[in-house]
């Protein structure tokens, strides 16, 4: 490599950070559920696929954009309530690993159902945001990525307000802190879990639309879950801030590694590189970036 092109470096870095935001979008859905019910919800990717597929199929059948959004919203609410009733409630008080395996099964059901109902072909999704690059002081930035970042920022702001300053948020935090104590003071766990899963469904909808517009709506959309997992390991499963910072770190280092180290490894490293970063980081600092340090990583 002759000479170090700083502008190019910045461009790669910014591109990486912005794609990291997309990872964070998925990761936030996990964090929400993990914080309040201690479950690592592997089905988050399947929910994302289900939401995007439902929305696209409705739009393709001539349903107006806003109405399709509302219907999909409702479907996700129903899905959240159904999951609470049929999966979570019977498994109350089971070890977290059992619940995790249940969400694995859940992801198989949702993926299968989504494609059985709507078919397996690839759908294009146009959100009406043109993806022309924007030039900011000599660096080209994708408009779509900026839009996604703005959406993510809004979502984090809303969630922060919700968790900090509303009664529902207070209840969420109480449940996250100590389920038994929350029950003892009269909080209704089933209702709270149904709310949380609904909220996670909505985040899945937002993330699904953005990812769907980027990749096309198809089965591989549910695999973004695999991109979000190292982000979670890095940021800590229970921290929204961690999900954001983790996503940015992973996104940036992944892109930089691909551009500058890609030749060394022969390319195609994106399938595992994020995991390597997360693992290397954890070996030095087992509590993750923002995970609760008191709790053993179990």
């Amino acid at each position: 490599m002759t000479g170090f092109d700083f502008t190019f470096f910045l461009e790669v870095l910014v591109g990486g950070l912005l794609s990291g935001v997309m990872y964070s979008l998925v990761a936030i859905g996990f964090v929400l559920i993990y914080k309040t019910s201690g479950v690592l919800n592997f089905a988050q990717g399947a929910m994302l696929l289900f939401a995007a597929l439902t929305f696209v199929s409705l739009v393709e059948r001539g349903v107006p954009f806003a109405l399709a959004l509302a219907i999909t919203f409702l479907v996700m609410v129903l899905l959240g309530i159904t999951i609470e009733r049929t999966v979570l409630r019977p498994l109350v008080n089971k070890p977290p690993i059992t619940l995790f395996m249940a969400t694995l099964g859940l992801s198989y059901i949702i993926e299968g159902a989504a494609q059985l109902i709507w078919g397996t072909q690839v759908h294009g999704l146009d959100l009406g945001i043109d993806d022309t690059p924007l030039e900011i002081s000599g660096i080209l930035i994708s408009k779509f990525d900026l839009f996604a970042a703005a959406v993510a920022a809004t979502m984090v702001a809303v969630l922060t307000v919700l968790f900090r300053w509303t009664r529902v948020g207070l209840a969420f935090r109480a449940v996250a802190d100590d389920q038994f104590a929350a029950l003892a003071v009269g909080l209704r766990l089933p209702r709270i879990w149904a709310t949380v899963w609904t909220a996670a469904g909505l985040i899945a909808l937002v993330a699904g639309l953005l990812w769907g517009a980027r990749l096309g709506v198809q089965f591989s959309l549910s695999l973004v879950v695999l991109k979000a997992l190292p982000v979670l390991v890095l940021g800590g499963f229970d921290s929204i801030l961690g999900a954001i910072v983790g996503g940015l770190l992973i996104g940036a280092s992944e892109k930089l590694a691909e551009v500058y180290l890609g030749d060394v490894f022969g390319g195609g490293i994106e399938s595992w590189f994020a995991y390597a970063i997360a693992l290397a980081f954890l070996l030095i600092r087992p509590a993750g970036l923002f995970g609760q340090k008191l709790v053993e990583r179990a």
Binding site: V233, S271, Y275
Partner: protein, 348 residues
């Protein structure tokens, strides 16, 4: 399909007759009767994948069921075993097949220890996610570097014939007998292992790590041992999968879905039971065939392969959840209850 269920119980269960009699009977039947009554189709499509997956599930059960370390990377260790066996066979002239298989298992065990290292500091979900690293890295490395597949342009290579001391195990029955022998030996080994001191250490670490440490169980060494032995068995299962069942060695068959499949086998069959692996594998292998027959009989042409694929996913997912809720100890526990009822023994 009555003959299908025969080898699924090649293990011990509590009977009123001596405990070793039942597994012995199953093994004798699997060796002596099945080869004569099973059609080549049944052997090729059901028994061979069943044997390979059962063995992989026995391996994963040692790690996840007994030692309590959740792994989502089993298929990677199968791939390591299969490719290691292929390369040892290719590059070392005249290496006996048994040595090749043992070396393949040892290679998988070594890789298993490397990817088991995070378990020394991570637990639960964090560890499960880190085992995904094994899954992706191994698959990437095997596709990326042509050396592993002897620079075959398609990445798909034919497995060499199975021959021990001049006897070639070819044809469906030959490969079945070969796979069955390997599975029998390793299952017996696993059965002895979980009842040895090492096996009790696994269980102690799973149930309460702190208590295990206090009792003097070397926790770190125990965890790595669990990873090594589990990967050794899973690696050999990979050899069976590639050499005896598929007859080709390729990285794509050892994907994440295969890892989940093996995990599902031990959930459905029963965690921390050896025979559960066989029950679960039987269900996972036979069930899609039944579903496709049933589907086309009931729905006719509407039930094409796409619909079949999706309904399979749905039913398997539902089975997992149902088992976790209704029978967390899996088919093995269900079987025990049936046996007890058949003997008219009621629980106190």
């Amino acid at each position: 399909m009555a003959n299908v269920a025969a080898p699924s119980t090649s293990n011990s269960f509590s009977w009123q007759v001596p405990a070793w009699l039942a597994p012995l009977a199953v093994v004798v039947a699997a060796f002596g009767v099945v080869p004569f009554v099973a059609s080549p189709y049944v052997i090729e499509a059901i028994l061979l994948p069943f044997l390979a997956l059962s063995l992989a599930a026995v391996g994963l059960n040692i790690l996840t069921g007994y030692a309590g370390q959740l792994s989502l990377g089993s298929a990677a260790f199968m791939a390591v075993g299969a490719f290691a066996a292929y390369n040892f066979n290719l590059r070392v002239d005249g290496l006996p097949l048994i040595v090749t298989i043992i070396l393949a298992g040892a290679t998988a065990a070594a890789i298993g220890i490397v990817f088991g290292l995070p378990s020394l500091r991570l637990k639960g979900f964090y560890l499960a996610v880190s085992t995904l690293a094994a899954q992706f890295f191994v698959q990437w490395a095997l596709t990326k570097f042509g050396w592993f597949s002897n620079n075959s342009p398609s990445g798909v290579i034919d497995a060499p014939p199975l021959a021990i001391a001049g006897v070639t195990f070819d044809g469906a029955v030959g490969r079945y007998l070969f796979a069955l022998s390997v599975v029998t030996v390793l299952t017996a080994f696993a059965y002895r292992l979980v009842r040895s001191q090492a096996g009790r250490n696994f269980i102690a670490v799973r149930d309460n790590e702190l208590a295990a440490r206090v009792l003097g169980v070397p926790v770190l060494r125990t965890k790595l041992l669990a990873f090594a032995i589990s990967s050794f068995i899973i690696g050999i299962a990979g050899v069976l999968w590639a050499f005896a069942y598929l007859r080709t060695v390729e990285p794509h068959g050892f994907n994440l879905d295969r890892s989940f499949q093996i995990l599902f086998i031990i959930i459905i069959g029963g965690l921390a039971t050896i025979r559960g692996a066989f029950f679960g594998a039987a269900l996972i292998v036979v069930f899609p065939l039944i579903l496709s027959r049933l589907g086309s009989a009931v729905f006719g042409t509407v039930f094409d392969s796409g619909v079949l694929d999706m309904s399979q996913r749905i039913v398997i997912g539902a089975l997992i959840i149902i088992f976790l809720i209704a029978e967390p100890d899996g088919l093995a526990a269900l079987w025990d209850r049936l046996i007890k009822r058949a003997h008219g023994r009621t629980e106190p």
